[in-house]
Symmetry: C2
Subunit: 202 residues, 2 copies
């Protein structure tokens, strides 16, 4: 069974789009998904990169074109519930530590689904601890257990170590994908990711 590694932070709308497009790719390829939680801000700091809305904010036409491609991507993959979050950009350290905690508690899939939906479908302010705790509770997650774990050095360190490890591996942004040693950056590479997973399987 081929493995698809997904370098992930909730902060990125392109991570959301990609996650929504993945189920059919995983089904067609039989691949197993492994999410690698990182801090996008940390990755930017290590690599000297910056968010597209900053890097291209002054380039006439560029962000409009990126938005057009996002709409095309949504249309192609049947993504109908996206709403741009009016609180963007948000600090995602709490919900990313929560993801590292959810991995330990073996509730990763429910966690990702509920937090992604809150962030990129319901427009919630996901850097507000009370809002976040409510989202966790409403999803049926053990919010108190997660809130406890995210205070531990183990969870805090896991996220830092992942971030540094992915930068060392070549990542400079999110979403980044790995199939074995092959790296792919951006939602526009998912076609190539699928081809690589199919090659890997044969």
């Amino acid at each position: 069974m081929p493995k698809l590694e997904f370098v992930f932070d909730f902060a990125s709308p392109n991570a959301y789009y990609s996650y929504r497009a993945l189920p059919s790719i995983l089904q067609r390829t039989g691949a197993e998904l492994k999410i690698i939680p990182v801090l996008l801000g940390g990755l930017f700091k290590i690599t000297g990169n910056q968010a597209p809305f900053i890097a291209f904010g002054d380039v006439k036409g560029k962000l409009e074109y990126d938005m057009l491609e996002s709409k095309r991507f949504q249309h192609k993959h049947g993504i109908n519930d996206f709403v741009f979050n009016s609180h963007f950009p948000m600090n995602t350290i709490m919900i990313m530590r929560g993801l590292a905690a959810a991995v330990e508690l073996d509730v990763e899939t429910d966690y990702v689904e509920s937090v992604l939906s809150a962030m990129w479908e319901q427009g919630k302010k996901m850097d507000d601890p009370e809002v976040v705790m409510d989202v966790w509770r409403e999803a049926g997650l053990d919010a108190d257990a997660i809130a406890g774990l995210i205070q531990t050095d183990a969870v805090k360190e896991a996220l830092k170590l992942n971030t540094q490890a992915m930068a060392d591996r070549g990542s400079f942004g999110v979403p980044t994908f790995y199939v074995g040693s092959e790296m792919f950056f951006g939602k526009e590479r998912l076609g190539q990711v699928e081809e690589e997973l199919l090659n890997f399987a044969t």
Copy 2:
């Protein structure tokens, strides 16, 4: 017959890759190619954009990844003759004016083929007028006629007008493609370009 408009400057290696990948796309879609000569430097100036090697020069991993994707693209499309030009970046105003002149002389296809090959396969210094004239002559083009035309206001203005018109239409870089009113930027969009051409044809 659907029309594929290609906003083009020899300065861009990605324009070279795209041009080499186009014949099979044109064949499969029955589309007609229309090259729109622009000055990439002018487009950058109008839109506030800059070349990737400048914009991302300090981002760890980014240019290496772009190079990996260029190699994948070459492999996928059977492009075997590319050599990175050691004189890059070059001022392309002479060879771009030459392209506008070649359109008038109805020798556009031979012109593009010979100049692209000189630039991105033979590594010639294509901002040196003597080198350029030799390339034109060796390709069997009427070098003197072209050299005459590129001094005319009509040719100089055509290039400026194209550049402004494409910026007004949403272009901020090269290669940019249009199928009707649909815009696509970058060689990674050629799959979408082909789908759009096929949709257009039906």
